[in-house]
Symmetry: C3
Subunit: 349 residues, 3 copies
Amino acid sequence: MTAQEINDITGGELIGSPSLVIDSLNRIDNAGEKQFSFVVSEKYAHHLLTSKAGLILVPVSFKQQLLPGRSYILHDDPYQAFLKVVMYLEERRYSNPKKLSGISPKANIKVSATLGQNVYIGDGAFIDDNVVIGDNVKIYSNATISSNSRIDEGTIIYSGVRIYYETLIGKNCIIHANAVIGSDGFGYVRLPSGEYIKIPQIGNVIIGNNCEIGACTTIDRSFVGSTIIEDGVIIDNLVQIAHNVEIGEGSAFASQSGVAGSTKIGKRVRLGGQAGTAGHITIADDVTILAKGGIAQSIQKKGEYFGAPARPKRDAFRIEAATPHLPEMYKELKRLRDEIEQLKNKNKK
Amino acid sequence: MTAQEINDITGGELIGSPSLVIDSLNRIDNAGEKQFSFVVSEKYAHHLLTSKAGLILVPVSFKQQLLPGRSYILHDDPYQAFLKVVMYLEERRYSNPKKLSGISPKANIKVSATLGQNVYIGDGAFIDDNVVIGDNVKIYSNATISSNSRIDEGTIIYSGVRIYYETLIGKNCIIHANAVIGSDGFGYVRLPSGEYIKIPQIGNVIIGNNCEIGACTTIDRSFVGSTIIEDGVIIDNLVQIAHNVEIGEGSAFASQSGVAGSTKIGKRVRLGGQAGTAGHITIADDVTILAKGGIAQSIQKKGEYFGAPARPKRDAFRIEAATPHLPEMYKELKRLRDEIEQLKNKNKK
Amino acid sequence: MTAQEINDITGGELIGSPSLVIDSLNRIDNAGEKQFSFVVSEKYAHHLLTSKAGLILVPVSFKQQLLPGRSYILHDDPYQAFLKVVMYLEERRYSNPKKLSGISPKANIKVSATLGQNVYIGDGAFIDDNVVIGDNVKIYSNATISSNSRIDEGTIIYSGVRIYYETLIGKNCIIHANAVIGSDGFGYVRLPSGEYIKIPQIGNVIIGNNCEIGACTTIDRSFVGSTIIEDGVIIDNLVQIAHNVEIGEGSAFASQSGVAGSTKIGKRVRLGGQAGTAGHITIADDVTILAKGGIAQSIQKKGEYFGAPARPKRDAFRIEAATPHLPEMYKELKRLRDEIEQLKNKNKK
C-alpha cells in the first residue's frame, strides 16, 4: 500500500511522499523503513527521534516536532486512526474467521443438532445431540460441542475447545483454542476419614454476549444453578473460573488469574496476571486487583488493591516501601534497647 | 417433582404442601419459589429468613425457627439427604457418562488395542497400539490414548484428554477435558555455555483408583521410574504435577497449584489455589498449604501453613497482623532514636 | 541387560559381576536390586550406603568408599555416562517419535499444504491451506496446524497442539500436547464506559530452533510484528507468553510462570515456577527469577532475584530473615517508647 492509500483510510493529513510504499505494520520501536507505525501521546514521542518507520501516525499536536524528510500522518485521534487501518487489513486478510463457511463432511454432527445459516464447522469437530448453533457461528476443526448446548450468532470457537453439555454461549463471543467450558466443579464432601465423596455437578455454564475467552482457560459448571459470565467479559489464557462463580459485565481477567468457587465478581472488575480470589466472597464493581494479588475476603469498596493478602493499593505500597528497611530496623531496635538500658543505669546512679 | 417425591428420596419429615411443584435445585441464597435448597448447619441459618426457595432441607434441630406458611424437609443429616436428591437426578439426567456406550466407527482404534465390555469410544478418539481399555470405560470424542497405556474399569476420559504412552490409570477415575498425562518432564542438563541438553524422560505416570483430574491439568512422566498418584487423589483444573513426583492417598490440589519435580507429597495433603512446592522436598501427611502458599523446604509436621515462603499458619498470621504497622514502625524508630540522642545529650550536661 | 552390556555402553570400569541382570533404571533413592542408578557427585554419596540399586554408576573418585559385594561402574563423568545408557534405551524403545512415519489417510490435509520427506501425520490431524511441513516432522493425532504456518525439519508436535495461522516454528523443536501457539493477544482499547474494544491481533509467532514447549502452554500472536522465541528456549507446562514478547536464546521458563505483553527477555534468563513479569519491561541477560517471583520493573543487572515484587536475592533473603521478628519488634517498639517516656519524665524532675 502507498502512504496515500493509508492516509485515505485514516482520514488524516499526510506529510511526505504519497507514493511511499508500505508493506507491513509494526510498533514504533521495531518498525523498519517500509513499515507503518504510530505514536499516540507525548509519552512515546521520544521514539520519533530514533524510529526507522517509513510512515508514522501522530497526533496533530506533534506538528512542530516532526523530523524533516520523513513521512507522517497527522490525526486528531491517532489510536483510532491506526485501528481503522488494522481493521481494514483484518477484513482483507487470509485467515479472517468471519470469512469461513461450510460444513465439513469430516465433521461429526449428530442429526438432532440444529445449524444456523452461514455456519462453518471444520474437519473432526464434534457436535453432539440437540446442540443449537446460531447463524454465522464458526467452529474450528477438532472442537467439541456437547449435547444440549447452544452457541448464539456470530460466535467463534477455535480448534480443540471443549464445551461440556448444557452450556449456553451468547452472541459474538470468541473462545480460543483448547479452552474448556462446563467441566465439573471441584466439589466434594470430605469424610472424617479424609476420603472425598464427589458431589455431582448438575448445573451448567452461561456466557453472555461479546465475551472473549483465552486459550486453555477453564470455566467449571455449577453444582446447582449456573456459573454465569455476563456480557462483555474478557478472559485471557490459562485462567480458572470455578463453579458457581458469577462475573459482572465488562470485567477483565489477565492470564493465570483465578476465581474460586461461588465468588461473585461485580461489573468492570479487573484481575491482574496470576491474581486470585478465595471462594464464597463478593467483589464490588470497579475493583482492580493488581498482578499476583490474593483476595481472601470480600471487597465492598471500589479501587485498586495490591498484595497477598491484598490491601488497598496506597496502604500496600506504603508497606512495600518500608519493607526493605526491615533488617536494619531489627538491628536498630536492639541498639536502642541497649542505649536505653545504659540511660536507665546512668539514671539509677 | 413434588415436595412429597423429594421428601421420599430423602427419607425426611415434610412440613408444608406435599403437592408443591419444584423444578430445579439451587443454593440457598439464589433459590427461587420453584427451587429446592438446603441449609446444613446453624452457620447458614440466617439465610432461612431471606431465601425465596420453595422447599428447604434443614436439620431437625431447626424445627423451632422455621417460618410459617413455608415448606421444609426436616432431616438428621441434611447434607447427605441433599446429595441423595442430587444423585437421584444425576442418574436420570441426559448426559450421564455412565449411560454412554458403543464404539464409534469414526474412532481411530489400532487393531492391537484391547477393549473391555460396555465401553464407549467417541468420534475421532485415537486409541494407539497395545492400549488396554477396561470394562465400562468411557472415552469421549477426540481424546488420545497413546501406545502401551492401560485404562482400568469405569474410568471416564473426557474430550481432548491426551494420555502419552505407557501411562497406567486405575479404576473409576475421571479425567477432564484437555488434561495431559505423561508429557515429558522438564529435565535438562545445562552446559557451562548455558545451553540445555534434554534428558529423555523414559519413565511413565501411574494413577491409582478413584482419582479425579481437572481440565487442562498436566502430569509429567518421570525421567526414570514413575510419577505416582495414589488412590483417591483429587486434582482441580490447570494444576501442574512435575516429573518423578509422588502423591499419597487422598491428597487434594486446588486450581493452579503446582508441585515441582521429584517432590514427595504425603497422604491427605491439601494445596490451596495457586500454591506451589519446590522440587526434591518431602511434605508430611495431613499438611495443608493455604492458597498462594510457596513451600521451599520439606515439611515434617502436619498442620496448616501460609505464605510464600510458607510458615506455620499461627506464625504467618501473627506476622500478617503486624505487617500493616511497618511504615509507622519505621517512623517511630527514627523518633525514638532522636529522643534517645536528646536524652543522652541531656545526661552529658 | 547385563552389567557388562551396560558398562560397554558407558565405557567405564565395571566392579562386580558382569552377568548381573538389570531390568530397568531408577533414581538412587528408589532403585531396587535389579535396577541401575547413578551418583554424580559427593553431594549424593550418602545414598550409596542405603541404596538397594543392583548397579550404580559413580565417579572414579569414589573408588575407596564403595561397599564390598556390590556392583558399580566407575566413570570420569557419570552423568554423561548415564545419559549414554538412557539414550541407548531411548533409541530402542517402543514410542520413539523419531521412528514414526507415514501420513494417515484419516489425517485432514489441504491440497495446498506442502509435506517434506519422512513426515508422520497422525489420524485426525488437521493441516490447513499453504502449510509447509519440513522433512522428518512428526505431527501427532488430532493436532491442528493452521493456514500459512511453517514447521521446519525434525520438529515434533504432539497430540492436540493448536498452531494458529502464520506461525513459524524452527527445526528440532518439541511441542507438547494441547499447547496453543498463535492465539490472539489480550489486546483491547477500554472506552471511558469501561467497555472493551478488541484490537485485531494481526502479527504472528516465530519460534527458533531446538525449542521445547510444554503441555497446555500458551503463546499469543503479536498485535503487529511478531512474538519471538529465539533458539534453544525451553518452556515448561502451563506457561503464558503474551503478545509481542521477545525471548532471547537459551532462556528457561518453569511451569506456571508467565510473561506479560511486550516484555523483552534477554538470553539465558530463567523464571522459576509460578513467577511472572509485568508487561512492557526489559529483563537483562543471565537474570534468574526464583519461584513465585513477581517482576514489576525492568532489570538491568544479571543475577538472582526473589519475591513479589522481586528484589536482588541477597536483599530479599535478608528481609525474609527479619520478617519473623516483626510481631515481637512491634511490641518491643511500644515498650521502648514507654521506657523513653519514663526516662524523659525522670529527667524533667
